[in-house]
């Protein structure tokens, strides 16, 4: 089987390519990348004129809700949603039911996802058993079963001794921690950003020190134990300042931000819109601006979707009783495009943060269009205008702060290992 992708604007940050080129895919690999390739070389041709051709997106945070939460979504439904968003590689956190703290569960998830042949799934194992923050999981065994790293999902470790020992252990085997920086006590009762909005609404606030104290603590322990750490979903300007300094001081740290934090603030909660109930909470405008600056200056390494489909009933509740999370993987690339257009940011800089950079963080050779690499490709139509609603979203989760809004640009095709796994129109 062979596919020729013709006349697209090929953007491959890793290889410094941004040009109108053709790509030939043969037997699952990229075999040629050049101008005016002969259509006869392929059994199938995709006309990509006026479209962007980029490496398949690697999403650093995508909740598949399997095992256990099929009421919300299934592995297949969400992998298809990911494909509809141009994603061919996804990191999934361990807070499923049961929690991913046993090698058998990882193997099952790997087998099930591989059988679907839609994308690469990179599970994060639970750093501590049951994510309780007390006892270490069988980290080595989990790694050998296919975990790409270790995480506490939304349950930060309370006990600093446990954090220290778990980092020492990870460091022994040169494994990476993927953590969200949140102080468990300061955030315990919190629902939204602490500020004028939380006071007006009578909702408990989460202050930025909940994030900065946790970042400080993680950085200290990581520095001492020489542990590789990636910080998920940074939300505050103060937190980004700390990371910037740490990077300058040579600490081995990377971080990402969720796509929601780039466009939304606590002001968007409106009249208790539960679709805006997210973790970390939507922050204030000055944080949002700082996030955009940090994307440009490189403090933020990657952008993730933080895709979290929630069953409709669990959003049909008073704000604080509803379930946090938003369905977002299908909006990732359209919003990246919007970011580039509205803030005049070079597109390849942004695409880098959803392709090459995540691959580097995961230490895998993905997220590029190099010759002989796996043909994982996303084709994006920047002119297609669409409305985000329950019909246009593939995901089982229809919960998004962007519901009923119009977006310009949509993924039109996704190719995984040389197979067309999504074809929009």
């Amino acid at each position: 089987m062979s596919i020729l992708i013709k006349n697209g604007r090929v953007i491959d940050p890793q290889n410094n390519i941004d040009a109108k080129l053709d790509i030939l895919v043969v037997d699952g690999k990229i075999t040629e990348l050049d101008k005016n390739l002969d259509a006869k070389k392929a059994t199938q041709t995709i006309d990509a004129s006026k479209k962007f051709v980029i490496p398949g997106i690697i999403d650093l945070q995508l909740n598949l809700r399997e095992p256990g939460n099929q009421y919300k979504a299934t592995l297949e439904s969400e992998m298809k949603a990911a494909n509809a968003g141009g994603v061919t590689g996804m990191v999934c956190p361990p807070d499923t039911t049961p929690i991913l703290d046993e090698p058998g569960l990882i193997k099952m998830l790997k087998n099930k996802s591989e059988a679907l042949k839609l994308a690469n799934v990179y599970p994060l194992g639970a750093l501590t058993q049951q994510l309780d923050g007390k006892l270490l999981s069988e980290i080595n065994d989990l790694y050998e079963s296919g975990c790409i790293g270790f995480s506490q999902a939304e349950k930060p470790i309370q006990d600093t001794e446990v954090l220290y020992r778990s980092f020492q252990y990870l460091s022994t085997f040169n494994l990476k921690a993927f953590l969200r920086a949140e102080d468990p006590y300061l955030s315990q009762k919190g629902i939204i950003n602490a500020g004028e909005i939380s006071t007006r609404y009578g909702l408990n606030g989460i202050q930025s020190i909940s994030e900065t104290i946790a970042i400080d603590r993680i950085l200290e322990v990581a520095n001492l134990t020489k542990t590789k750490v990636h910080l998920n979903k940074i939300s505050t300007a103060e937190g980004l300042d700390l990371i910037k300094i740490a990077k300058k001081n040579g600490i081995d740290i990377t971080c990402d931000v969720s796509i929601h934090q780039i466009f939304l603030t606590d002001n968007d909660i409106g009249f208790f819109n539960t679709n805006c109930f997210l973790k970390p909470p939507l922050r204030k405008e000055s944080d949002r601006i700082k996030i955009i600056e940090s994307i440009i200056d490189g403090t933020i390494d990657a952008i993730c979707s933080d895709h979290s489909p929630v069953n409709e009933d669990n959003k049909l509740k008073p704000f604080a009783e509803s379930e946090y999370g938003a369905s977002s993987v299908e909006l990732l690339m359209p919003l990246i495009f919007k970011l580039s257009e509205e803030y005049k940011i070079e597109l390849s800089l942004l695409i880098n943060k959803i392709t090459q950079q995540p691959s580097k963080i995961l230490e895998i050779n993905k997220g590029n269009l190099s010759i002989n690499s796996d043909a994982d490709i996303c084709i994006f139509d920047p002119e297609y205008s669409w409305e985000v609603n329950s019909k246009t979203l593939v995901s089982e989760g229809k919960n998004t702060p962007f519901f009923n809004q119009n977006l310009t640009g949509k993924v039109s095709s996704t190719i995984f290992k040389g197979n067309i796994v999504f074809n929009g129109r």
Partner: protein, 316 residues
């Protein structure tokens, strides 16, 4: 901005919060309440404004006083009243709030008086019912308690006539108080030039000054020259914790006694939404003094709640 408590003609369809109400709307409610005040003094305490209507008191959180005054108010308007203590029934069986409300709608209820421990609960319910159903928020989490804000404004107007020259102090647990928030909004809308909040930092919410108040931590300074002192209840569970060390220390530093009250303007009135903790936030002598208008607040509360129901659902 779209206001969920108004219908497309700009009339009040629900009462969810004070925030978003116009001064005219509040004055209309207060004036209507004034006309209802006399009904409570008559032998036959009834008018037929809500005859044939069904009012449901749906309390997901326990309350005696608020529920009772709503019940009396509805009955004086000739409505049929049903009291549901949901806290102890369907919720514990796992029924969702919307299912509970929809079941009552199926029984043809017209007005729902809702109290819930979660902020935004009344907004949530109002956005899922048909426009002929009226929701009155009787307290949602720490967010809002609009009829309390209105009855407090009514009380102040009774004793002080002109809002434009007043200094008002609100003392106590502002952080957890929906009453304080409703009062701050109401007094600002009505043109009170100086609203003060007096509390230790542990009991003040973030950026409270952005709601239009002056912050005081010293009660003696805060009470100086005020015309109205609004005391707030300190919940027992807040004592002996991380917010406050003890009730004794609280009374010593923030409790209202006559010496402190004398710092206020002569003729200042003392208010409290009840139930009071005598000897914790307020000294008994002050609570029972001539300056106290705590019991009239309760009486006025009935008239104000009658006014709200009449405006929402009556042929007024």
């Amino acid at each position: 901005m779209f206001n969920p408590q108004l219908n497309n003609k700009g009339n009040l369809n629900h009462l969810l919060s004070i925030e978003g109400l116009s001064k005219e709307k509040i004055i209309q409610i207060l004036d209507t309440a004034e006309s209802f005040l006399k009904i409570g003094e008559r032998d036959v305490k009834k008018v037929p404004i809500l005859r044939g209507k069904t009012v449901c008191n749906v309390f997901f959180e326990n309350s005696t006083r608020t529920r009772t005054t709503f019940e009396i108010a509805a009955k004086r308007l000739s409505a049929d009243v049903i009291n549901l203590n949901v806290a102890s029934s369907s919720q514990s069986k796992g029924e969702t709030i919307l299912d509970t409300i929809n079941n009552l709608i199926a029984m043809n209820a017209d007005i729902f008086i809702v109290r819930h421990s979660s902020s935004g609960a009344a907004h949530f319910i109002s956005s899922h019912v048909k426009s002929n159903i009226h929701i009155i928020n009787a307290g949602d989490g720490n967010h809002s308690h609009p009829t309390q804000g209105l009855l407090d404004a009514f009380t102040i107007r009774k004793y002080k006539t002109n809002f434009n020259k007043l200094k008002v102090a609100i003392v106590g647990d502002i952080l957890h108080s929906r009453v304080a928030r409703s009062n701050i909004h109401a007094l600002n809308i009505l043109g009170v030039p100086e609203i003060r909040v007096i509390a230790p930092k542990t009991l003040l919410p973030h950026e409270i000054e952005k709601l239009g108040v002056h912050v005081f931590h010293d009660i003696d300074k805060g009470l100086k020259d005020v015309d109205v002192v609004m005391m707030l209840r300190i919940q027992n569970e807040r004592m002996d914790g991380v917010m406050l060390p003890s009730r004794e220390e609280y009374f010593k530093t923030y409790g209202l006694n006559q010496t402190r009250l004398d710092l206020a303007n002569k003729g200042a009135i003392v208010m409290h939404p009840g139930p009071m903790n005598r000897g914790v936030e307020i000294d008994s002598k002050v609570a029972d003094s001539e300056q106290s208008v705590i019991l009239p607040q309760v009486t006025f509360g009935i008239a104000v709640r009658m006014a709200v129901m009449a405006i929402l659902a009556g042929q007024h």
